[in-house]
Symmetry: C2
């Protein structure tokens, strides 16, 4: 023991001696270098041998005794405690090759499910708003207002689906701007669309049930559904949006998800007739309808169509909204509007599953809406995004018009671009990356004849107006290089043709 | 049509006429009062009949046309658009009696699973910290520092398990204070323990697998596990904590959860020998071990035992921590420390499942730790909570000592109290509520012989020192009244005895 310490102690180290002694003895007990029952030198003897203060030894001994590594026998010194008969054992040679401890099946599956882009800024990352333009000075002030001892209830957990002021503010906003038919009790505050979808998956479907998503769709739906044990099927999308009536509805289908105001990502707007048809078809199949109204704040050619939820007489539509697009991505607040007969079940489930809090943020957001900052910011951004979309469309048409077809809806924070068949998809992605351009790729549901190797989602929410043209130039360079590469590889004598 | 409007328009209403006309016509189209193909009066004629401005009518018509309720034929007027062959249908008589649209099986089950207390403040609500004492003025300043345009990356989504500064700060803290063996890459930031447990459930176990929890335990574990399709079994807890070796381990058990530093709720501290035994037993059964170290910051008689994770050589321990106790409940930040071979899988899964953000808060928390505010606050609260626990124990012993036995560990934010057999559990709860006292009740796992009708969890985190004695007085009153009630009901001649 004295030898061990003499060998191992480092008096030059910045680690206190007391901690060093503690660590050395502790590991020696654990790996049975010091054997259970072995007597230790007295603190006096050890202090003299090690030439350090006796109090240091005593303190280290005290901690080791308190933690059961050592025991004392009254008047008879300090001993190694009886712990295990064998040492705990060395670590396996390599944990990576240790196949007995593995992820679950669903855990492994998760790594194959679609996910978001690693990049969160730059041309043309989809799904992000312009946080540069967000009035952080106001937001900061509103948060500070509620982060004080004045209202301690705000520092606790959030029950009942969220802060009542915020639920009232959202209900008021949705009634007017989206013709959503709701009372504040139907609003459930979540940490964003992912949590909203998770709640729907668990409350509305069981393991093995099916959810129909639009094909293509936002990756959040197939991923979160699959992670909750649902099968995911793709519904047909045509020029009027999701065509449920002509889509295969597997047995045990419980949920259909739709983005009627602005289909993600193709940009199709679902007309009234299709909306009514969809509701009838959902009724016929007895499905819950999840309406994801992710970017309806941003329509540049008039008001958006009223929500599908407002047409629902059955209490079957669940409306999902988010503040990520109208404010900034990281704000992490969203909400569900659930039929009134489900509001208690949803608010209780949210409390039990997520134990939500962050009521200071909810209070700040309620003020942000009530004091008009929210609508003012949306108005401002609507003009800004409209100009960006115009310029992006114009630049794309000018530079790539002969090989690209753009979505038509003047809405949202992205443009959907379909390239002609002779463009190599992966090569465009790679060449764009070399130019510093990131292209969103649509998420298609498997087993459906896909256009996925020709379509891109070009986000402009995070791209200032003055950077749009240079972004398109870089993209054009990348596309040309990709086409040239194709040609030169086609002319390679070893090439066996298409 | 003119009649319909004459009948329905309300000129005294605060709703603009344009919106009223829009609503009336829209609903008339939807319920086929106006039939597809029917011609509408011209705006000029209608304006004259209704005695309102023609521009109002035109604007309402324009919106109805834009939204596909009406169509125009060039030079030939306005018509009801072809929508559905039948009307969409009236709402069912009562949505509540409509049994075809129901919650999923697991959604219904959720309402029977244990949950938290509705109250979040007062004597003796468990699980809450004293937010009154929290330095919100510092916290506010740190948040404001990062809520600006200086660092826009903070307004985006959080990838890679969270902000690197925060992961480094936590890793540093855990290494020193909890002997946790970790690198920053092993830290995954979550929105609290519920999300941490959810991630473990999905990544480490499949539907139908079993998780063993301590019996009793915190309600979050059985509830979140069951909601993710796991079976939940209770492991035996004795005076040394969880006794896995002598607990039934069902086939397909994948996870065991343990609170070794301070068992929730009984307060038992697991000694070293039991910890080593537990790790050996977990190895024998090939289980993942989740160590929930929820309140280790608060030990009032010396340093807490080092973490179980620090003893693990196999990479089988997942350590869960939270800032809810050391800061305040609503802060909603927690973390996992996962074995290094799982860190990529966990960080990717967190990104895909939760789409986290709120990086401003993470940056503020990193500063809070680095600048010493965190450890200063813990030191201060340690003294404060220690006094409260002393006083609570003293008062309980004095007033109820003959019928109550208290847990022994001087730690955490609660005291576990076991009443003698002749106290009626439900009656104590009810009488306490009448006195304004809320008692935490331990969560026992079903099918295990339970002491649940005699034990309470008394939280003092949210009770200022000066309110503890009056709280205990009120509790004593409630208990006496409950015992008197028992006696008088026992002396009731119709009483058939026990």
């Amino acid at each position: 023991m004295t030898d061990l310490l003499l060998k191992s102690l480092d008096k030059q180290s910045s680690h206190p001696m007391q901690k060093q002694i503690y660590d050395i003895v502790r590991f020696a007990v654990l790996d049975h270098t010091l054997i259970s029952g072995q007597k230790l030198p007295s603190s006096r003897a050890l202090a003299s041998d090690l030439k350090i203060s006796r109090i240091t030894i005593s303190l280290a001994y005290d901690r080791l005794i308190a933690e059961n590594y050592l025991i004392t026998r009254a008047g008879n010194g300090t001993y190694v405690a009886p712990t295990l008969k064998q040492p705990l054992g060395a670590a396996p040679q390599s944990i990576h090759t240790q196949h007995s401890m593995q992820l679950s099946g669903r855990g492994s599956q998760l790594s194959f499910l679609p996910g978001g882009m690693g990049h969160t800024t730059g041309a043309f990352v989809p799904g992000v708003a312009d946080s540069q333009a967000f009035p952080f000075h106001i937001w900061k002030r509103l948060i500070a207002r509620h982060l004080s001892k004045g209202n301690l209830a705000l520092s606790g957990y959030a029950n009942h689906g969220g802060l009542s002021q915020l639920r009232e503010a959202i209900a008021g906003y949705l009634k007017i701007s989206r013709s959503v038919n709701c009372e504040p009790a139907q609003i459930i505050i979540t940490s964003g669309t992912h949590q909203s979808v998770d709640l729907c998956a668990r409350l509305l479907a069981d393991v093995g049930d099916t959810a129909i998503v639009e094909n293509p769709c936002h990756w959040a739906f197939p991923t979160v559904f699959a992670a909750s044990g649902l099968e995911v099927a793709g519904g047909n999308v045509n020029d009027y949006g999701l065509d449920l009536e002509n889509s295969y509805v597997p047995p045990r289908t419980k949920i259909v998800v739709v983005t009627p105001s602005h289909h993600y990502p193709t940009g199709v707007v679902m007309p009234l007739s299709r909306r009514l048809e969809l509701l009838q078809s959902a009724r016929a199949h007895n499905l819950w309808v999840i309406e994801d109204d992710y970017d309806s704040e941003f329509r540049y050619d008039g008001a958006p169509l009223p929500s599908l939820q407002g047409l629902d007489n059955d209490g079957r539509v669940i409306y999902i909204g988010t503040f990520s697009k109208a404010m900034f991505a990281g704000v992490r607040m969203g909400f569900l509007v659930v039929p009134s007969h489900l509001s208690k079940a949803f608010s209780r489930a949210s409390t039990k599953l997520f134990r939500p809090g962050a009521l200071h943020l909810q209070a700040a957001l309620a003020d942000f809406i009530y004091e008009g900052h929210f609508s003012q910011h949306i108005r401002k951004m609507r003009g800004e995004y409209s100009s960006r979309q115009d310029l992006l469309r114009f630049s794309l048409e000018k530079s790539l018009g002969d090989i690209v077809r753009l979505s038509s809806a003047r809405a949202g924070l992205h443009v959907f671009a379909q390239f002609s068949a002779d463009v190599n998809y992966q090569s465009v992605i790679n060449e764009s990356k070399r130019e510093g351009i990131f292209l969103g790729t649509p998420c298609f549901v498997k087993n459906i004849p896909a256009l996925e190797n020709r379509c891109f989602v070009l986000g402009f929410g995070g791209v200032p107006l003055e950077k749009i043209e240079t972004g398109v130039q870089s993209l054009t360079t990348a596309v040309s290089r990709s086409i040239d590469g194709e040609r030169s590889s086609s002319s390679d004598p070893s090439d066996l043709g298409r």
